[in-house]
Homo-oligomer: 359 residues x 2
């Protein structure tokens, strides 16, 4: 019953990665583990174009997303919401007992830099959260424009979730001046889920030092103290760090520019194919994600039936819409190890199924 | 450079388990994932002899240990400390901004039920934490006697960490009346680290509903809401759940009683061997852990040298003491898949090394 995932995460994992995960476990307080961290961490920094450290968190991305709110908020956090995950961050902030404001955009719209500037100018906030690539709607906000706004508010610590854009498109953390990047492993890195990443600026660490109730498991300063020794605060998910080490070899062998170009090419192939059937992208085209596409179900296709058929006949699956968009949109991932050839294989299979479902 | 771990966690992982981890990833909102949870969860309940649910947490055990403090404490938490991990729980409680009291015992001593009763009788606490098996000192407290005390304080929610005792000795949660059991996967379950477990009573869930600031990632009620659908709140560490599924097959095939007896037999073999060299157990013998042994370095052996030698010549490692006991104690794990034969193999190798180091 094995089948290939074209859902926007978790995604298909290579045999090479699975093999890396079977590397024998070492003690997490051993020199061997320190060497493993020393192998991955500098390369994660390069991938974020940053001098800041990158911590390894044994959790899914929500762990470090919640952790950022707990570690950074003294006054209030502004959560920018334009989809299921960014909206939920507002809910999570309140559940942490933090003062929180919500800057809401229609699902499928990007974060609007002007609206952001206006809200930050109220001076109510000391933290802001933004999801770069809203996986639920396939919408990628313009970090370049957003960062111009953020730079006008040096007392606000910015947290950007790049869960489904990291390594699919360039994210130049230092140039953008983002304080904290949080991301995960099961999207473009094509590693099984369970490992998250957190890269804080010096300013973010200084802020954390002033915040009470940070706890231990996601404490930025505890991560920092351990990272200095190439260690982690708690027992880490070692097998996935082996997988990461192997995947970084691939990424550096391919080269960043080629990798980013491959994602764009994959992405365009899917768009053109869908346009051919008369489907429209949910977001405005220039804000369409490069790691997945989210299309409106403008042809009123019975999505669960198409997906079931594809799975049964071709052992592949895509996604039939998330949350309140379920049934009204569908999403096809093109991230990770996919190539124009593998994308065309999926689309060719769909060509054999889809026409029968068109109204 | 592969070698076998006899440190008290993480421990050696079988080829069968690594193979299970390479099962192709499925979407975590799919029926296939729900089926996987439905396969493991009832068996975890059986292993805890409980009718309460058992949640899967994508974290190491510290995550759910901290989560328990955040979810359950309105008034104050009493942390019983008798070693590195239980002592640290007190520190973590304070870092969560909770009122916390510390009932401290000498390292190597068990939690004393009388002292516990006296402290709880002050009526200052609504939560108490106990580490069943202090991995740092190889000391196993008497849950039977402790539970008699806990039953006298029905308003106090009890949290017991069984990280290094779960599936090595029976832990009859319902009979003991423990409210919350927290545990992990990288000790006796012999799974690579990164998956933790949390089993709360109805009373614990009711308490959680009254506590502010629980957050999201370790929120008991969020776990419960998702567990009802055989799901998890956040993207789970699917590969380790596959490993768990495979390991549970082994445990149920062997039978609980045989498994527990095997751990006792392994444990006794190591004790007798060490006594033969004149080493003494750190704790009083009846409180010695059944999953590992912690010996005083009464022969003043150069532990780092012995461990390095064993690693180099025989590709095996044990542990040279934790925290403030480093160098003064050593620990040998006998948990997981080990048998009398594999324990004797380790000890036979040590017999070829140790005599040269005795003073």
């Amino acid at each position: 019953m094995s089948y290939k995932l074209f859902i926007p995460g978790p995604i298909a994992v290579s045999e090479k990665t699975y093999k890396a995960m079977a590397t024998p476990i070492v003690g997490h307080r051993s020199k061997d583990f320190q060497n493993l961290v020393a192998s991955v961490e500098p390369r994660l920094k390069e991938l974020l174009y940053t001098k800041d450290p990158v911590y390894l968190s044994t959790s899914s991305s929500w762990g470090v997303m919640e952790g950022s709110v707990r570690n950074l908020t003294n006054k209030a956090v502004l959560n920018c919401g334009n989809g299921a995950f960014s909206d939920k961050w507002f809910d999570v902030s309140k559940r942490c007992g933090k003062e929180a404001g919500f800057l809401s955009f229609e699902w499928g719209k990007p974060v609007d830099p002007e609206a952001l500037e206006k809200e930050l100018a109220t001076n109510k906030y000391d933290v802001v959260t933004i999801v770069h690539n809203e996986t639920s709607t396939g919408t990628m906000s313009d970090l370049g424009e957003i960062s111009k706004v953020l730079k006008k508010f040096p007392d606000v610590v910015s947290v950007v979730d790049t869960v489904s854009s990291f390594t699919a498109v360039p994210i130049k953390k230092d140039e953008l001046g983002i304080d904290v990047v949080v991301t995960g492993c099961q999207k473009a890195l094509a590693i099984p889920p369970g490992l998250a990443f957190l890269s804080p600026s010096k300013k973010a660490l200084e802020r954390a030092a002033t915040v009470e109730g940070r706890g231990y498991y996601f404490d930025f300063l505890e991560f920092e103290k351990n990272a200095e020794k190439n260690m982690t605060p708690s027992t880490p998910v070692i097998s996935l760090i082996y997988a990461l080490d192997s995947k970084l070899d691939d990424i550096f062998a391919e080269g960043f520019d080629k990798r980013f170009a491959r994602h764009v090419e994959n992405n365009n192939i899917v768009r053109e194919w869908a346009y051919g059937y008369g489907f429209e992208l949910l977001p405005e085209e220039k804000f369409g994600s490069k790691s997945l596409n989210c299309f409106k179900n403008t042809r009123n296709v019975d999505l669960p039936a198409v997906i079931a058929d594809l799975k049964k006949r071709f052992n592949m699956v895509f996604d039939g819409g998330y949350g309140k968009l379920k049934g009204n949109t569908f999403r096809i991932s093109n991230m990770g190890d996919e190539t124009p050839e593998t994308m065309r294989e999926l689309l060719g299979n769909l060509d054999q199924i889809l026409p029968a479902y068109l109204k």
